[in-house]
Amino acid sequence: MSEPILKVENLKKYFPIRGLLRTVGYVKAVDGVSFEINKGETFGLVGESGCGKTTTGRTILRLIEPTDGNITFEGKDVTRLKGEEMKWFRRKAQIMFQDPYSSLNPRQTVFEIIMEPVRFHGIEVDDPEEFVIKLLESVGLNEMHLYRYPHEFSGGQRQRIALARLLALKPEFIVLDEPTSALDVSVQATILNMMKELQREHGFTYLFISHDLGVVKYMSHRMGVMYLGKLVEVGPADKVFENPLHPYTKFLLSAIPVPDPELARELKKQRMKVEGEPPSPINPPAGCRFHPRCPFVKDVCRREEPPLVEVEKDHYVACWLYAKS
């Protein structure tokens, strides 16, 4: 459980903004993110829309080239992989997307969709049909669906097909990019449980990206909270939920809807108030990026960026309330 399978250090991704003739600025989507994921665990990444969590996931898989930083997967530097080694990495690390309506090629049958990665990576299969049927059964579909097209399936079924496509490669590390946010709640639960089940069975390592805190709590062993391209808090999921340290985390947690109206009214009184919108990642505020909205803002927050400090065991936070300047 303790050896890191993936190590991300100071990962940066800046998207250039092109003016008429030259680059006029950068969108700093991911700006110095570091974390580790241990083998067999789920690392949850939460944050609001536009905070860079999806970009982080894609950059780790090199679907987007990182601007700077190191990514180490099973001891190999992912940013420098080429040729056969890259092919190896593509097989070991996979991604599942948010939108099941566009992640499957509408012109391929389920059989073709699942067999394509298998053929490309030269995985030997005795009987392709039987192989695909077994995979389909493991995600709760059946033989009947083998030669159908994606448009003949519901959202949940499509997500299952996408999952079967991943399983065909037997990867070790999977980025789950909000895999259930496009589905309704009952289907969400089945898919999430299936993923947990598969993790237990095959020992997958997940990077679970979501804006849904409840889902992250349910899925993750450890989690990170992102704000405007930076990690503000990292720690074991239960500790982060029980004892949130960063003001932004506290704010997020207080915004989780409560299914009891009495309690909700009570909580609303003591809810943390955070004003305004997140600033633009093109021109992030100096010092701590949360300072314009933070109720506990101090002078130092405006000047210097807070370092990530360990407050309790394995629980890190980047906030001047806990760090010494």
Binding site: L63, R90, Q98, S102, N105, P106, Y147, Y149, E152
Partner: protein
Amino acid sequence: MQEEYKKGILDRLADKFVDALGSFISLFKKDWKRRNRSKMEEWKLMLYALNRSPPGLIGLALVLVFVFLGIFGPMLSPWNYRFFPSLYNPDTYLAPPGSEFTLNVTELRNGQFVNYVTTIKFPLGADHYGRDLVSLILYGARVSFVISIVVIVLGVPLGIILGLIAGYYGGKIDELIMRITDMFLAFPALILAIAFSAVLPSRLQEFISSHEILKQLTLWLFALKPQDAGNLGKLLAVIFAMIIVWWPAYARITRGSTLTEKENLYVEAARAIGLSSWSIMFKHILPNIIGPILVYVTLDFGGVILMEAGLSFLGLGATPPIADWGRIVYDGSQYFPEKWWLVTFSGFMIMLVALGWNLLGDTLRDILDPKTRRSIEFKVKKAKQMEEGEENA
């Protein structure tokens, strides 16, 4: 609105046709029919939709007739296009439709002069060599057919490939390809084609004369006699010129569709699998954007034929005595309106073919678009459920 769906004769024919096609492919690819049931279902739906569009059926019929004439026309032709009756009987010069003449023919066959008497009928009249217009139109069909196929088959894929590359890679490659495309699009297509077909013939003639096999092949394709080998240069020049002006439009549309299509997550999923850019372009993006392009191709078949006729009318392209519809209109225009039949009948053929392709293209646009096909799909499903319900009861 509550129109019930009933299968007509045409629909049943469509069913049979698709099933037969499936069985036929299964002969070569094992299990194809079983694996592609969904695809065959979709083909059937498209054919049902076609059956419900009279203009589409008319277009299809016209196109099929044209294709038939294009392939078999020269064989069906009663007279050879290089047989000049006015040599034997001056009265056949511009003979009107329905007239009939007796010819006293002297021909050189195997080094000997042969004399015989024959009668020639002109159902649609004769041209200024006394040639039968029916035969000319049949030979002309082959010329138009081959030219349109060659231009489309060579020009369209060129445009598609360049458009795919530009759209998929973006950045500098995109800029380079699209600026070149813009250069071609900056001139009116016809003007550019005129320029090229005026410049190219001598070079092409040289080339084709020095390659015997190519020469024979071209003559065979156009159903021409060996005596016309010297006229191939101009014909090929027109084809070349049209290919050159035809691809930019396709590069444009393909690039546009590629730009929208590549945003889909399945493209990213394919990249995550590790597939090369090339196979993503051709196996994932292309099949998803080919529909609208096919519609364009269909509409453009008519366009190519019109432009070819236009170029021939301007004196470029086919040289007499090669039978070419545009050329016949050009030659006939000098005698119009007194000798109206040359212009009228060949012009009418050009119009019918262009109309046929356009009607077919318009209908294809409708039936390839899932949104317009949805209603018929719905009706078919309902009808099927009713049928099954009856069987169960």
